[in-house]
């Protein structure tokens, strides 16, 4: 990859906890055992991209928990959205859901998460990177995607190039940015799959009690702890698993399967979190509380169409 001065954009000084190149995800390849990948909070990536006039799914940087530090090599417009990870530009606070200018030598540093878990940094035109199977999404476990195609997380001294010299959409402002401070987050679930095999008390509990986000949470899935859910599904034959699937292993504690999930699995499911709920879950810290709320597919479709309409 070219590293000439003209093309350089950002140099990573500290990779922090976890920083990955992510886009809208890798599709059309699930039957080969290749996972979806893509931004966990695709809505926030979409807003960061929108601020620069990029396509919603253009490649950006997913910064988890903080500690990420980059230095600008050229004058550049960037945009930030998602959780508040205490970003500063040469010590001056940068709030999420804004676009800002950086000059050569300036340092953008992320501190710790004060709300949400993941921040998304967009570059003009997106990050310039060769896609694999239609996507630049980094999947560490599969050794696919990212800067060198081998899936690794960003590391110190990596150079990140922008696909365009100048950002579009200079007049774009987000009037009322989303926040991630709700005490209990309601997560919409499309019910289905093996839900009929759960007993009545378990179904009542699933949708009426609170769930706590467990520390066992990553890009593959998030474990919820709460009431024990029972079902009579027994040993299932493995089948394809959609994004957001709420699967319940024999211990009765659900796991919500996210972007880097395995493509097939054999635990009974209550249904799947909607894509919007998956994005929201991606900002819920361990220990926080959520509720599961059944929602119709029609209603979800309307909400999804409305979300994409905002980015037109």
């Amino acid at each position: 990859m070219s590293t000439s001065k003209e093309n350089q954009a950002l140099v990573v000084r500290d990779a922090g906890a976890l920083a990955l190149l992510q886009d809208g995800g890798r599709f059309g390849v699930r039957h080969l055992g290749v996972t979806q990948g893509g931004a966990i909070d695709w809505v926030s990536l979409g807003w960061a991209n929108w601020l620069l006039g990029n396509a919603a799914g253009a490649t950006g940087i997913e910064i988890t928990l903080g500690g990420f530090v980059v230095e600008a090599q050229v004058p550049l417009t960037l945009a930030l959205a998602g959780g508040d990870l205490g970003a500063t530009l040469d010590g001056e606070s940068i709030t999420p859901y804004s676009r800002f200018r950086v000059e050569p030598g300036q340092t953008l540093a992320f501190g710790q998460a004060t709300s949400g878990l993941r921040a998304y940094l967009a570059l003009p035109g997106g990050v310039a990177v060769a896609p694999f199977m239609g996507s630049a999404s980094s999947v560490v476990r599969e050794c696919l995607g990212g800067l060198d195609g081998e899936g690794r997380a960003l590391a110190a001294d990596d150079t990140i190039l922008a696909a365009a010299a100048e950002a579009a959409g200079s007049d774009r402002v987000i009037e009322t940015p989303p926040t991630f401070t709700a005490e209990t987050v309601a997560l919409d679930v499309t019910t289905g799959a093996q839900i009929a095999q759960f007993d009545g008390a378990s179904l009542f509990a699933a949708f009426n009690e609170h769930w706590e986000i467990d520390a066992r949470a990553d890009r593959m899935g998030v474990r919820l702890t709460g009431p024990v859910l029972r079902n009579g599904a027994g040993g299932m034959i493995s089948e394809g698993i959609p994004l957001g699937a709420v699967q319940v292993p024999p211990d009765g504690q659900p796991i919500v399967l996210l972007n880097d999930r395995q493509t097939v699995g054999g635990y009974p499911r209550l249904g799947a979190l909607t894509p919007l709920a998956c994005a929201r879950l991606g900002q819920c810290a361990p220990g926080s509380r959520v509720r599961l709320r059944p929602v119709s597919a029609c209603q979800t479709r309307r909400l999804m169409q409305a979300q994409f309409a905002r980015w037109r």
Partner: protein
Amino acid sequence: MNAPHPRIETVAYDTLTVRLFETIDEAHMPWILAADAALRDRFGEALIDLVPSYTTLMLHYDGLSLGLTEARGMIVDALANLTPATEQEGRHHVIPVWYDESVGPELVTLAERLGVEPAEIIRRHCERDYCAFALGFAPGFAFMGLVEEALATPRLSTPRQRVPAGSVGIAERQTAIYPMRSPGGWNILGRTAVTLFDRSWEEASRFRPGDRIRFTAIDRDTFIEQGGDPTPMETQ
């Protein structure tokens, strides 16, 4: 076999699972492959992903442009008058394997359990064509079967942290090859030098669902000639 009656189940707002069968049987695969082709054809650009697996196909369509009811109708339409795919539609692969205790520790434990020589286990593992029922777990990892009943072995009670790339194993009545080094609980019998997943290939994966696979035994020298890494299991 008569045409199966598909059941269509909602699994996400933009995803339906088509259930064709209730049991694992190689005779089901021609129907699954036929359904795969018909659904790809019917959905065209609106298809995002289609994942066949044993008894089902999971169909992820563009939920912004298609509603659930419309998508169900399209599935019913696509699967009317389904006829099973012919044998030629799946591809056939021969995979050379160096079966040896050093790279396949369970070769000996399985032989001891059955009271036969390891050579007998090798002969029986190589005796039949296996069908790739589904790909999952990792890119290019094919769940193949069925191995004969007597060779069926439960997964290790404690999975290994690192199973080397190319390891060939058995779990219950299924057999598989690890495309890349990963954790895993299958009973390992040997190792192949054949690459299963390569980013530079057009489809990246050597196997597709419905492919047929036969293993053939090779010696250590041939394995090394083919580019295999003979490092014993324990030290990797």
